[in-house]
């Protein structure tokens, strides 16, 4: 070997993807950050996550504490007033972030994992059962999901948050699976995938190391899409009384507000505030999605880094 006589072995180049996963995440956030609309989304989402994490420190009262005067308007002691059973609305709003945000993120994450598993294997394997999977996915896509959720939740007798997460995942994975599948099919026929087979790579390595990294933006987009759908669905189910009415979440706040006829008593803040939080949370994720395009395009990534 001629190179053995040559001492030039400089800093070994870092191999892409084998690096620290934290670095990968940090770079992804950096890419998203460079798009102003997405930056707005990231700031909002971070604020919500902080609110949920530090709810006990931020909230002025215990959200279950019903010892205050009933149905008060906003005052210095209770900025957003009190509920019909004498709980502080602001404290409920802050504590509600915990349940609502975590349900959205967990359900979104699970739905995305199912979508990745189904979408990638369905897209990569060319076989008859691909058609069968396709039929099932399409069925889940066209069946209106909210009625399906309502029916499942009704049978399960308001089993609480786990049921809601389950229902949201069952009805929410199909969209992502379809998008990821068609992208997988496109990538599968690319020469670099054939080349990887010639390099002796195993199917799982081809799927996860060659194909999947090229779909990062789609995966992230489908996660935020699923999380948005999840928080809207959660709120819808709880608003209909299909959640556990004793948990404090934005959906159950709306349920109680509606049941105590706050529109008639004029305490519309109790309806407005939780709905606004849900909308804002959904908006934050919609806006992050403006910035995910650059994630699997090294050229875009570079261009944004130079800015």
């Amino acid at each position: 070997m001629t190179t053995t006589t040559d001492p030039v072995t400089p800093d070994p180049p870092v191999i892409e993807g084998r690096g620290n996963p934290l670095r990968v995440v940090a770079r992804a956030i950096g890419t998203i950050w460079s798009e102003p609309k997405a930056r707005f989304g990231v700031i909002l989402l971070t604020a919500f996550i902080l609110l949920a994490l530090f709810a006990p420190l931020i909230a002025p009262y215990d959200p279950h504490d019903g010892s205050f005067p009933h149905s008060q308007d906003g005052s210095a002691a209770h900025l957003l007033g009190t509920t019909g059973v004498g709980q502080d609305v602001l404290s409920q709003l802050i504590w509600g972030a915990r349940v609502s945000v975590s349900v959205a993120l967990i359900a979104g994450l699970l739905a995305t994992l199912v979508a990745i598993a189904v979408g990638l294997s369905w897209g990569y394997v060319r076989a008859f059962w691909g058609e069968a999977v396709g039929f099932i996915v399409n069925l889940f896509l066209v069946i209106p999901s909210l009625p399906l959720m309502i029916v499942i939740a009704a049978y399960l007798h308001s089993g609480g948050l786990a049921v809601i997460v389950l229902v949201v995942v069952v009805t929410g994975w199909a969209w992502g699976a379809r998008v990821l599948r068609s992208q997988t099919q496109t990538l599968r026929s690319r020469d670099f995938v054939t080349a990887a087979k010639f390099s002796g790579e195993s199917p799982s390595r081809i799927v996860f190391r060659e194909i999947m990294p090229n779909m990062t933006s789609l995966i992230v987009a489908s996660f935020f899409g699923a999380a948005t759908a999840a928080i809207l669905a959660e709120a819808g189910l709880e608003f209909l009384g299909l959640g556990d009415p004793n948990t404090v979440s934005w959906g159950t706040m709306l349920f109680w507000a509606q049941n105590s006829n706050v529109l008639l008593t004029g305490q519309w803040v109790q309806l407005f505030a939780p709905g606004f939080m849900i909308a804002l949370f959904a908006v934050s994720m919609t806006f992050i999605n403006f910035g995910v395009d650059g994630l699997s395009n090294p050229r875009l990534r570079e261009r944004t880094a130079k800015r």
């Binding site: 039929f135 066209v142 209909l240 709905g275 909308a279």
Partner: protein
Amino acid sequence: MRYFWGRVGLFVLTLWAAVTLNFILPRLMPGSPADAAIAKLSQNGPVSPAMRASIEAQLGVPSGSVWSQYLSYLGQVVHFDFGVSYSYFPQPVSSLIGAALPWTLVLVGSVTVIAFVVGTLLGVVAAWRRGTVLDTVPTVGGQFLSAFPYFWIALLLLFFLGYVAGWFPTSGAYSQTATPNWSLSFFGDALDHAILPGLTILITSFGGWIIGMRNTMVNTLGEDYVTFAEANGLRPRSVAMRYAARNALLPQFTSFGMVLGGVVGGSLLVETVFAYPGVGLLLFHAVTNQDYPLMQALFLIITVSVLIANFLVDILYGVLDPRTRQ
């Protein structure tokens, strides 16, 4: 023709799958929905053997062969016989649905068509005037609005336009003093009641159409056939509509099916807020009263309606895209 029959086949298959899913669902659930239903029903008086058999076929009982239950369930579906509701005892489920369905079909159907047309047109304008105010306002605004919960928009409209401003009636599909007939005055009354729920569905659904159309048309504007049409000196309106928009419309139709399910789901919530006597409100009542036969039948009807709408859109797509005819 090949495309048409392919779609018909797929439609029939999907229909069968949806009907079967409806059969399997209660049988997968813990406990026995059928026993619960029969218990509920017996509170209203003695349960006849025929009613019992009907409920067992629909919701499943531990005894009896699943196969024979499935066959008699299919028989019921074909005859629109969904048993008796016990929350509205002794009304049959089919007549309850028959009364509620037209309200939903007209409301959701017409608003969906309006939202599709308006949203798509705004999307065309946004793509054609990319980067201008005509682009950013509808796109960003549409993103904003489609992130809002349906029922929350409904509540806001109800409060501000209904209670505070008093411009529109706050509940029902027509005034309590009116009786449904084909007169112009009743029609006006019904329209008055439909505005707030309709507006809610419109606001929350048309953003998706704007963004979908805008994004696909931005892509088609970059296609060679658009450049070539410009090179041939076609009028800008012709390039925009017949070349760019016409081709961007096709994916818009393909995504219609997926979006429709969401719109229908959302309008169910809207109906409950406005106490609009459609299938959504009925479903809400069925769920709160654990009226399983009614709930089960409603789910089937809603699903089948969406499937039919999808099928019609598929056929329309075939007409619009010459490539499906080859």
